[in-house]
Symmetry: C2
Subunit: 287 residues, 2 copies
């Protein structure tokens, strides 16, 4: 099953990601409506033409006509929403999400969901250091990765539709992981990196430090500016995996420290050469 221009798409939650989904899909001629809590976000989305309709109320008519519903909410809000309003879903509707953690949410949602509606989870690996619909930007998907997170309950039709959504949004690479694999990898590539950026910001209070920084420091701490409400929730929902990755990382940092203490230049160079060669695979694909 592929997305087509007759389908009605509903986005629930107009933040940075919800807004950027809406921007991209509307530009490409799809029918997009939105439900979001804040009046300012509704106004902004309508003024900017991100959607053809937006509302602060969970209107039955808007939910019940949607063939595809994209949830861009905090995990706990997502669950509550589905519990309260799933009665409005059209039979046969597909729902998907953008949530940054999966094990703690995918099974729960699939278990509470009506049997005639299917939830296929996805994680668009894109963002910006500013949140909110006002910072929506469909270019954040270019060159980026998109992970579909199916379980054994998912049909191949829904998986195909979810992958197709990623293609239409312009992601460079689309892959599939189980919820558990996803959370382990995300703990490393996303949550650990945010922990590092935070720790770099809090471990030094030298005055005027900004006069002595180079691009490397700026790069490593760009994500130190973060939405504390969202990230504290994501960290705690994936706590064990994250702590495991923090321990692995500290182990490597300690290995580097031992090489330094031993004055082992060849050991340091070997570690640096491995780092250099491995880094090449992470370059963003040219777009």
């Amino acid at each position: 099953m592929k997305l087509n221009h007759d389908m009605k798409i509903l986005i629930v939650g107009l933040g940075l990601l919800g807004g950027s989904y809406a921007m991209s899909l509307t530009k490409q001629g799809y029918h997009v409506k939105a439900i979001t809590r804040s009046h300012a976000s509704v106004e902004y989305a309508l003024d900017e033409g991100l959607v053809e309709y937006a509302t602060n109320e969970v209107e039955e008519s808007v939910v019940s006509e949607a063939d595809l519903v994209v949830f861009a909410l905090y995990p706990h809000v997502f669950k509550e929403w589905v519990e309260e309003y799933q009665k409005f879903f059209k039979s046969g509707a597909i729902i998907t999400d953008v949530t940054g953690v999966k094990s703690c949410i995918v099974y729960d949602i699939q278990n509470i969901l009506r049997n005639d509606v299917e939830f296929i989870a996805a994680h668009p690996m894109a963002g910006r250091e500013r949140s909110g619909v006002q910072n929506s930007d469909d270019s954040i998907f270019r060159g980026a990765n998109y992970v579909v997170v199916p379980t054994e309950k998912n049909t191949s039709d829904a998986i195909e539709l979810c992958r197709n959504l990623g293609e239409i949004l312009g992601f460079a690479r689309i892959s599939e992981l189980s919820p558990e694999e996803h959370d382990k990898i995300i703990a490393f590539v996303s949550q650990l990196t945010h922990c590092i950026a935070i720790a770099l910001m809090t471990c030094q209070t030298t005055p005027h430090l900004e006069e002595y920084t180079g691009d490397s420091f700026r790069d490593l701490t760009r994500i130190a500016r973060l939405n504390d409400d969202m990230w504290s929730e994501l960290f705690l929902l994936n706590r064990d995996a994250l702590i495991n990755e923090m321990n692995l990382f500290e182990g490597e940092l300690d290995r580097l420290k031992s090489l330094l203490l031993a004055g082992d230049r060849e050991g340091l160079r070997e570690m640096m050469r491995y780092s250099t060669s491995r880094r090449a695979i992470f370059d963003k694909p040219e777009t």
Copy 2:
């Protein structure tokens, strides 16, 4: 004392930084010559018009006419060069450098140097992940920081000339630090960040990890691609300061881990809010 267009400038060592200095100064009409080891670098610099003259030999006539000599060499090569060839310096010449560590080199050079020549150290906080004169790019200085590192042996004339060189190259902020302050700060903002990037690259070998990464991971590891010969030398020359910063950083990472383990969401949010507010001061000045 300010740089003027009658002065003869000599750059010793045409790598990324030496080449970018040459590019910027030549474009602005200064007389720039270069001495560098590799034939390919000499040819490249002449073909691209980065300098008016370049040679592989330490030619007495080239050294002895220079009013300002910029050393862009590895620390140990810099010392050896000065020992062997300082006899060629013009009386009254000013020499400066781009070396990334200072305490271990500034005093040594000042002690061995002839009394009629002055060494004023500087650290341009700019770079790229690719080394070599072929990657020269004078735009790397825009918005960047430049640190002059005087000792009590330096004259205000030489300090002024060195600051002026930074201004002409286009740096956004020019500041002064003692060699010891410089090395402590560099251990944090530059060397620790490189250690982190290396450890992120070496602590996980999950296959296909590149399919699941976002910009945050790419940002934190851009500098994981590094010149092992140069960086191992810089790390070891600043070992104590670097290990101290690694310990401070790990302490903060452990604090974050404790908050996670305790499920202390408010503590996590407080740390994130502090990180967010502090990060704002590190934005690159608009250019």
